[in-house]
């Protein structure tokens, strides 16, 4: 059974008697991708799990309003993205952001601190981070990214270009530093 027929089946089931077996298949199909994005975005397994649950519950509730002109993953990512923003707003209201940021580093299990996504998070805004993720990892089109982030396509393009440029500059800077260190070590050795 392909994706579209599975969604139609789930919609029909929910409308009739609420049998969740077809929806369970949808959850199995998308949970890994969504969880990966949420882990990268939240850097906290507890938050990621909470948002994952909330996303699928919302998807179940509003499955009848799903527009098939978009990919199902686009729709799920839109819900997840909104939930993340909602949670961040809640944290900032409760002044818990600081404590969460401190724990995220510890909670991100087996993620190396030199991981480029951790570096990017410090360097770029949350939306620019999302643009990079959806473009390179999820390989979504500009149109779909714009739909998820509720912004124009030109804005997505600009954001992507600026993020790349920042990363490139960072890499150049790193390379330059590496060269300096290399020559310094060499000179010290010779002296």
């Amino acid at each position: 059974m392909n994706e579209q027929s599975l969604i139609q089946q789930a919609q029909a089931d929910i409308a009739n008697n609420g049998v969740t077996s077809s929806f369970s298949q949808l959850v199995t199909l998308y949970q890994a991708r969504l969880y990966q994005y949420l882990l990268a975005r939240c850097h906290n397994s507890h938050d990621a799990e909470d948002i994952l649950q909330e996303t699928f519950i919302n998807a179940y509730k509003y499955l009848s309003s799903y527009n098939s002109q978009w990919q199902f993953s686009t729709w799920l990512f839109t819900i997840a993205n909104r939930l993340i923003k909602k949670q961040q707003k809640l944290y900032s209201q409760n002044n818990e952001m600081l404590s969460i940021d401190m724990t995220t580093e510890l909670d991100t299990v087996s993620i190396d601190q030199s991981n480029i996504w951790l570096q990017i998070k410090k360097m770029l805004s949350a939306t620019a981070y999302d643009v990079l993720w959806f473009f390179y990892i999820e390989e979504l089109s500009i149109k779909e990214i714009a739909k998820i982030l509720q912004c124009s396509q030109s804005w997505v393009k600009i954001s992507l270009f600026r993020s790349k440029k920042k990363n490139w500059l960072q890499v150049r800077k790193l390379k330059f530093c590496q060269k300096i260190f290399f020559w310094r070590d060499k000179l010290q050795y010779e002296i």
Binding site: G18, Q31, A32, L52, Q53
Partner: protein
């Protein structure tokens, strides 16, 4: 997007690094989490259906209750006789006859005047007769005396 050679190499490097480092976040969510999601969805479904049932009861109860209340109010406050009168006034028993009469009256408008004069004359004669009879009675009583 076209890059210069050095830039291209760097950009490719970054893209590859982005893809490879993203793999670090690739962790399968636990089976318990999937179970939990499905349990929550089932619970949610139950809540939704219960809400819908309550809503459907209210949907029927409110309008029927309102209609019954209005009927009771009308029944208690307006007497049956007045209702019947009003019905008789507004709805004539034989509508067709009434309209035919009205049409006839309109067509004989010219003849109406003499008819009324005749009626008045007959009435006047009757009154005169009654007066004469009373006078006769009075005269008779005088003769008796």
């Amino acid at each position: 997007m076209k890059y210069k050679n050095a830039e291209f190499r760097d950009m490719r490097l970054i893209e590859n690094k982005l893809k490879s480092d993203a793999m670090a976040f690739r962790q399968e969510p636990s089976a318990a989490l999937h179970e939990n999601i499905m349990q929550n969805i089932n619970k949610q479904h139950k809540v939704v259906t219960r809400d819908e049932k309550v809503f459907s009861i209210y949907q029927w109860l409110v309008p029927t209750g309102f209609a019954m209340g209005t009927l009771l109010f009308v029944g208690l406050n307006i007497q049956q006789a007045t209702v019947v009168e009003r019905i008789n006034m507004t709805l004539p028993s034989n509508g067709q006859e009434m309209t035919a009469m009205a049409d006839m009256m309109a067509s004989f408008k010219v003849d109406l005047l003499p008819q009324t004069l005749e009626m008045k004359l007959t009435n006047h004669i009757k009154i005169e007769q009654q007066a004469l009879q009373q006078d006769l009675k009075y005269l008779k009583s005088l003769f008796v005396l």
